[in-house]
């Protein structure tokens, strides 16, 4: 696997904790939402940065209790067509003002690269054969019709804003901030 960096964020190094393993003091760990909800303080008190592993079936209301404490999030796509993953990322950014890294894992396809970026993802875990196609897909479209939660304004707004530029070279996303 290789990590595709969509926004230029400093990716988080972390340990994916198995169910029966406790975090080491100060360690960055990723844990399932269920476990975070059940054993909340065990993690947030001991570990370093805590990330939630969020499945696409997670009701977003489950994020209420934990989103404010997360350092990063990993959204797992069981299939590339499971669009709930996009809404979860949007929810994190929009409803919780989440600023940490959002990573996509699972069989997402290169042609989704810009969809992921625009829904608020920073990074994607992909198989190494897909790296080139993913990177090519990132520079394919000059602009989009939607404003997104990563800070890009829509073509509709750009049309009427003097001096406004659009583009997905990263400006307007994280690199600018």
């Amino acid at each position: 696997m290789v990590l595709i960096n969509l926004t230029g964020i400093q990716p988080t190094g972390f340990t994916l904790l198995a169910d029966d393993v406790q975090p080491k003091e100060g360690e960055n760990v990723a844990v399932s939402v269920e476990r975070l909800l059940a054993e909340d303080s065990a993690f947030f008190d001991t570990a370093g940065g805590v990330g939630a592993v969020i499945t696409t079936g997670t009701p977003y209301a489950d994020l209420d209790a934990i989103a404010g404490k997360l350092a990063f999030a990993v959204i797992e796509f069981p299939a590339f067509g499971d669009g709930r993953g996009f809404s979860l990322a949007v929810r994190l950014r929009k409803d919780f003002g989440f600023k940490g890294e959002i990573r996509a894992t699972g069989p997402v396809i290169p042609d989704q690269a810009l969809f992921l970026l625009r829904a608020g993802f920073d990074t994607v875990d992909v198989t190494s054969e897909r790296k080139t196609a993913f990177e090519a897909a990132l520079s394919r479209f000059p602009g989009f019709y939607q404003s997104d939660f990563g800070g890009q304004t829509s073509i509709a707004h750009a049309r009427h804003t003097v001096g406004h530029t659009i583009g997905h070279s990263g400006e307007g996303h994280r690199k600018a901030s």
């Binding site: 590339f80 669009g83 042609d111 019709y145």
Partner: protein, 551 residues
């Protein structure tokens, strides 16, 4: 009509380049068919029974003469000389070669057309009233809003991988010619008491295995809130729509399961959170798009034209065409004209390259270079001066496009069925052909009056049989093609679900059954009663008796 600016062009051209690369990788074997499938589907390219099929979007059914010429050119150069206009105001080509599809899309892009989101689990081509901008009974032209939705929904970062496909229809007139109540979301332009224009919003309609008529979400939504409200509706659906069973994945199932009130509550809660995020476009953008749909500069003319009266008196076919295929225009002295793609014995919705070229020429000569496609699979010239009608009709008639049957029994909607479609149980086209041959008598058809027959080759209902005054559904009965007969559906403002009358028939039997149903109507009708009103008054029993006999 809307015209692309550099942003729109750049977007569609980038899409063609992307698709060319994908096809290239597929041809070289770098992509397997399994990997390629979702990519081609996102570009409207299906694999059918015999060949690939390319579905090209005709946004809200509006075309220029130049675009129609391009469609004719594509039919001639890349296909077998014809195209098929669909119930979703699109056109399908049945025989493109995979290697040539990027070239087709490039040619289409040159005239501001594309195949984006004509398939896949995304927001599809927004459909509307085929007489939009022309009909006398319109509150407002729905097309600027359809274009806004087209742009907002194109490559939407969040709603491109929904539980299932998603169809939105808009109408601007009280008479619903866009079947909005049969859509995932229906929008009806209305004026409120203060004289402001906004939408009634409907949700959860759909056909398929579980036909449902849409329910009202809001009586009045201001236009400026349209996109944020749609976004809230789509978000709740994207998160909670079922993904475990594709037959239960449409929004109609979600709305039924949670109830319209709960769905509305959740949408409203979400909408409150996003109303002030700049999803809705700036006012200047709405004004920019609206300007493209400004009414054409038609002169006000006398409503009576001597040329028309003379030919009407001399020629019965013209008289029939005038009565059935033309309608009241906003501007006095003009009419909108329906060009029937339902010649008796022909294939509903098919047009040859020559016919498409001719329609383009006629649009240039008589209709401000504008053409429309209806969900009933006909073509429309929206802005014709009445004094031009005789000349227009004779040119259409010569080319086999003058069938005076719009809105009558032989103006049949039929899906492609087993002649093309890999999901079909039965053929649909031959049933339509046999029925239209059986009723090939314009006097008889006019006596019968408005009657909509709709035929689907399987329960996916692409032929809208649930909404047919007479619906025909192809089923598989132990390996035999079998046709069920349904009565009493409507796709209009008085939407209703057609009900199955009784056991199914074979190919000959279904045509006889239709004839018996019509005979019962003619015998039982009162005064000017239409077929649908008579059926609603009489109920199914007398039809059942006539069709199945009594024991």
């Amino acid at each position: 009509m809307y015209a692309y600016d550099t942003y729109d062009h750049a977007m569609v051209n980038a899409r063609v380049a992307e698709f060319r690369d994908q096809v290239d990788r597929r041809m070289k074997g770098e992509l397997t068919e399994e990997e390629f499938r979702p990519l081609r589907l996102m570009n409207g390219l299906y694999l059918q029974l015999h060949a690939y099929m390319l579905r090209v979007a005709i946004p809200y059914g509006t075309l220029s003469a130049g675009q129609m010429r391009k469609l004719a050119h594509v039919a001639r150069k890349y296909d077998k000389g014809y195209g098929h206009f669909t119930t979703r105001q699109n056109i399908q080509y049945n025989w493109p070669k995979l290697s040539e599809t990027p070239d087709i899309l490039q040619e289409l892009s040159d005239v501001e057309m594309h195949a984006i989101q004509t398939s896949g689990n995304c927001i599809r081509n927004v459909t509307t009233d085929q007489f939009a901008g022309a009909a006398a009974d319109e509150v407002a032209d729905p097309r600027p809003y359809a274009e806004l939705i087209r742009q907002w929904s194109t490559f939407h970062p969040e709603f491109s991988f929904l539980p299932r496909k998603f169809k939105i229809a808009i109408t601007g007139a009280a008479e619903d010619r866009a079947a909005v109540k049969w859509h995932d979301i229906g929008l009806v332009l209305k004026q409120n008491e203060a004289g402001e224009v906004g939408f009634e919003v409907l949700a959860g309609g759909g056909m398929g295995r579980t036909p449902v008529i849409a329910k009202s979400m809001r009586e009045f939504l201001p236009i400026s809130d349209m996109l944020s409200y749609l976004e809230a509706m789509l978000r709740v659906y994207n998160e909670q729509g079922r993904r475990d069973n594709k037959y239960k994945a449409r929004i109609k199932i979600l709305v039924d399961a949670m109830g319209i009130d709960e769905y509305r509550r959740q949408v409203d809660a979400e909408w409150e959170k996003i109303r002030h995020v700049p999803i809705d476009v700036p006012e200047e953008e709405v004004a920019r798009i609206k300007a493209f749909f400004a009414p054409p500069p038609l002169p006000v003319l006398a409503d009576a034209a001597t040329e028309v009266d003379e030919l009407e008196n001399a020629n019965f076919v013209f008289k029939a065409w005038l009565a059935n295929n033309t309608g009241a225009h906003k501007v006095p002295g003009h009419a909108h004209v329906t060009i029937s793609l339902k010649p008796h014995g022909g294939i509903p919705g098919d047009a040859t390259d020559e016919q498409m070229d001719l329609v383009a020429d006629l649009a240039d000569a008589y209709s401000q270079s504008e053409i429309r496609v209806s969900h009933e699979q006909n073509l429309i010239l929206p802005h014709v001066a009445k004094s031009d009608l005789p000349a227009l009709w004779s040119k259409l008639d010569e080319a086999g496009l003058g069938t005076p049957n719009a809105g009558l029994l032989t103006d049949i909607i039929a899906c492609p069925g087993l002649d093309y479609c890999s999901l079909a149980n039965t053929r649909s086209i031959p049933i339509a052909q046999t029925i239209t041959e059986r009723f090939d008598d314009i006097k008889r058809l006019m006596d019968i009056g408005p009657l909509k027959i709709k035929i689907s080759g399987c329960i996916n209902s692409c032929g809208h049989h649930h909404a047919g005054h007479i619906g025909i559904l192809g089923v598989d009965r132990r390996g035999e093609e079998n046709y069920q007969l349904l009565l009493g559906g409507s796709g209009a403002e008085d939407a209703s679900k057609a009900a199955i009358l009784g056991p199914g028939f074979n190919e000959a039997g279904i045509v006889d059954a239709v004839e018996k149903v019509v005979a019962v109507y003619l015998g039982e009708r009162e005064d000017d009663e239409t077929f649908l009103s008579a059926y609603r008054r009489l109920g199914p029993d007398v039809f059942k008796e006539a069709v199945y006999g009594t024991d």
